[in-house]
């Protein structure tokens, strides 16, 4: 059967091109791979190769023709034994993707035009699904034990590793050194070098290796000595871990935890003091948590390890040594995606996560002395965000202050302000305020460092501002 050779699309954006030259003429025989013509695309001059073998029966579009539509028949190829050139079929408009066939291609009369308008943004108009319900947090009435955040994190890993052979911990100095910040203390002894693995200093490499191990159905916990160094690995975190479930149509998830200290330490300056919460929270496909208390650190880390998705677990070096009461439960698990109201109040909502929760509580006590009762919400999870708890509180207080250590621009606070505007605009009695790190790289000098970091006093000032109070405190 005769084969129609059509004007090919030779770039992602080409819709038409110039047929600049024929390298064959009628009667020539061609084999697959022979160059038969040259065309100019919107980008370059390209050679057109024959795909089938046969004899050129007819050339329909002469060389030098401009504006040849992609899909137009440019020649007819006859197969062995054929002599007759059949009439050419209608040129098709090739380059457009064949979206829901009819209306988009139809004549532009009134009716179809509006149909097109209605149909076109179809994808955009699909509503994002409501956040999946999060399991209720166990209300603990039993006994508790005082422990540090560091111990709570270690216990979480150890308990999970006892339950599931597939879990292993990998990172720099996690095994023999017992952890750069001693978070993995004792794990090597209990679980052996097979499951507690010291890596070379090679973040990009071991993050990718962890992703591969997760694809291979293991459950890696990848420790970054600090999240500053995860910048070397962010390609694997985003491109390999977070996107694969989607790109595989749901076939392949990536159950992995990336954990380590995040945010400012003390006097280590710009390259070692930064909060990455908003960087990771920006990306679909990840879960991002950042606990404050030891109980949450333990319960959330256990959830993160069990989660079938990649979870970014942001700890804080300054918090490691702080002690909290932790439930003495056999299996203390805090669900990801649920904020915690750590102080009730009717006048202003203060949101915070990680180390800022402590500062927010400090500020709330001070504000209370001048008659402002703040409700302090520990966000705990940044993605998914517990918007419901935030909105409920803001509807009650009519005011909100967002606290974070990170930079203000495009930070978590920017997102929270937007969420509140979307969901509680009519309830606001004052503009949302944010208390953040300053918009500068972290300085080294002690006085400058203090100035760069958000302090409890900044939250107090914000509290007075949203409540329209003057005077000192």
């Amino acid at each position: 059967m005769a084969i129609e050779i059509k004007m090919p699309a030779l770039s992602p954006t080409m819709t038409e091109g110039r047929l600049s030259r024929w390298l064959v003429s009628q009667g020539d025989s061609v084999a697959s791979g022979d160059v038969i013509a040259e065309i100019e695309t919107d980008k370059a001059t390209m050679e057109v190769e024959a795909i089938d073998e046969g004899t050129i029966g007819a050339i329909h579009i002469g060389e030098g023709t401009d504006g040849v539509a992609v899909g137009a028949v440019i020649a007819t190829l006859l197969e062995e034994g054929e002599t007759e050139v059949p009439p050419i079929s209608q040129p098709v408009s090739g380059a457009t993707t064949p979206v829901a066939e009819a209306p988009t291609q139809a004549a532009p009369n009134q009716e179809t035009a509006s149909a097109v308008a209605a149909a076109a943004p179809i994808a955009a108009s699909v509503a994002a699904p409501a956040a999946a319900p999060v399991g209720a947090e166990p209300d603990w009435q039993g006994s508790t034990r005082t422990m540090t955040v560091r111990e709570a994190l270690r216990d979480a890993m150890a308990e999970e590793m006892r339950q599931d052979e597939r879990i292993f911990v990998m990172g720099e100095e996690v095994a023999e050194y017992q952890g750069a910040y001693k978070v993995t203390q004792g794990l090597l002894d209990e679980f052996s070098a097979k499951r507690v693995i010291d890596t070379p200093i090679t973040e990009h490499g071991f993050a990718g290796l962890g992703v591969g191990a997760a694809f291979g159905d293991l459950r890696p916990i990848i420790e970054f000595m600090t999240f500053n160094f995860s910048m070397q690995a962010i390609d694997h975190i985003i491109n390999s871990a977070a996107k694969t479930l989607y790109m595989s149509g749901g076939q392949m998830g990536c159950p992995i935890v990336f954990r380590g200290p995040n945010g400012a330490a003390s006097r280590v300056a710009a390259q070692h003091s930064q909060c990455y919460a908003s960087w990771y929270a920006h990306c679909p496909g990840l879960k991002v948590v950042s606990p404050w208390s030891a109980a949450d650190a333990k319960g959330l880390l256990k959830s993160a390890i069990r989660d079938p998705n990649p979870v970014i677990f942001l700890e804080n070096e300054v918090m490691y040594g702080q002690s909290f009461e932790v439930p003495e439960a056999d299996d203390w698990v805090v669900p990801i995606g649920r904020a915690n109201i750590v102080r009730q109040g009717a006048d202003v909502t203060i949101t915070a996560f990680s180390i800022m929760v402590g500062k927010a509580l400090e500020a709330a006590e001070a504000l209370s002395s001048i008659g402002i009762e703040a409700e302090v919400i520990d966000l705990r999870s940044l993605r998914p965000l517990d918007t419901e708890t935030i909105l409920t509180s803001v509807k009650k207080t009519g005011r909100m202050i967002s606290c974070e250590e990170g930079f203000p621009f495009a930070g978590i606070g920017a997102e929270l302000a937007m969420q509140v505007m979307d969901g509680a605009f009519d309830y606001l009695d004052a503009p949302v305020m944010r208390v953040t790190g300053k918009d500068v790289p972290m300085p080294y000098a002690a006085n400058l460092e203090t100035l760069a970091l958000p302090q409890a006093q900044d939250i107090i000032e914000a509290g007075k501002a949203v409540c329209y109070r003057a005077g000192g405190l």
Partner: protein, 354 residues
């Protein structure tokens, strides 16, 4: 069809240029060289190479018709590499590669229709149309992608090898990468860890002589990519990647090494892609003569065809294979065009495992 190959160039461990055939390093031992595959195996390798060739030609055609969008990287010319290697791989082994992945998926026995439907962005594609040419996976066939970031698949492959070792399942990972990818830092981070921990992974460097428009000589200091593992003690062999039998032999050796627990192995496959880097590449960085010389003198399919005919296969047998392949590819294209676009509701699925 005319037989275009003048002479059978097959020689184990020999490079495409031939002049390096004297190299002693990495030449597989005699015993293995003489272990010739059966006629059936050779016919199957022939079938797979023809399948990949025809599939890619069809993909190019559909791209020309606007049915495939975006980037589309064809494997034409390199068929012997993946077919030779996968012909000796076992079911428990795993594979990971770059965006030039259609051939690898077919060699891993993934369904041609499912792959083509992904290329056309349809619901019946391996990723429901959400991954496209560069991002496809099949857990069932142990094919772990399809990765669009140059060299990202290399540590991922080592991670899969880590899992093979951790689970003691005896599997080996084949991590395919390009000559351009071989210059990425993460490759050396991976070589180090793979050697340090004796991971069962074969790094298959598909040296098709160009990374996009940059020839190896303009991108790589020290052009012997097989030697790139030397500092880590990883054995490396340079192989004529246009000769499927040489590839197979080298892969057998590499697999034996990995399965014996001796750690990673590097296979540098000297190969060539006939088409541009992607569909929109006019390939002005090389001459047509260079391409034609490769095609005419080193074509992997023609070379095997020669061997088969010399060893008693008849034309009709090969023609029959050609016909069957043509039908598979035709059916795959029909399937890929008939399959509907994904439902709009798919936009928000598969982001997070609930």
């Amino acid at each position: 069809m005319a037989n275009k190959v003048a002479a059978n160039k097959r020689a184990e461990g020999k490079t495409v240029e031939g002049k390096k055939s004297e190299r002693k390093r990495g030449r597989p031992p005699k015993s293995i060289i003489n272990d010739k595959p059966s006629a059936d195996t050779m016919l199957e390798m022939y079938r797979q190479m023809v399948l990949i060739r025809r599939f890619e030609e069809k993909a190019g055609q559909l791209y020309g018709m606007g049915q495939i969008g975006g980037f589309c990287h064809l494997y034409i010319g390199q068929e012997a590499v993946v077919v030779g290697i996968q012909s000796v791989a076992k079911e428990m082994d795993s594979v990971v590669t770059s965006y030039r992945d259609h051939g690898h998926m077919l060699a891993c026995d993934m369904d041609a229709g499912g792959v083509m439907a992904e290329l056309t962005g349809r619901e019946d594609g391996y990723s429901k149309g959400k991954g496209g040419s560069m991002h496809m996976f099949s857990r069932e066939k142990n094919f772990y992608g399809g990765h669009g970031i140059v060299a990202a698949q290399v540590p991922i492959g080592a991670g899969l090898a880590f899992a093979h070792k951790y689970n003691g399942d005896g599997g080996v990972n084949m991590a395919y990468l390009g000559d351009g990818a071989a210059n990425q830092g993460q490759v050396y981070e991976t070589f180090n860890m793979a050697a340090l921990w004796s991971l069962p992974v074969i790094f298959v460097i598909e040296n098709n002589q160009y990374g996009m428009g940059t020839s190896v000589s303009r991108a790589a200091a020290g052009q012997e990519l097989a030697d790139r593992g030397k500092a880590y003690g990883i054995p490396g062999v340079q192989v004529d990647g246009m000769d499927v039998l040489a590839v197979r032999t080298a892969a057998e050796e590499a697999l034996a090494h990995c399965r014996a627990g001796k750690g990673p192995y590097i296979l540098e496959m000297k190969t060539y892609r006939y088409r541009g880097h992607s569909m929109s590449d006019p390939a002005k960085y090389r001459t047509r003569e260079e391409v034609d010389a490769m095609r005419k003198q080193h074509d992997p399919i023609e070379q095997l065809r020669d061997v088969l005919l010399r060893e008693g296969a008849d034309e009709a047998q090969l023609k029959d294979i050609d016909q069957k392949v043509k039908k598979i590819v035709g059916d795959a294209a029909d399937f890929a065009l008939a399959s509907p676009e994904p439902n709009a509701s798919e936009l928000y699925t598969d982001i997070i495992v609930a």
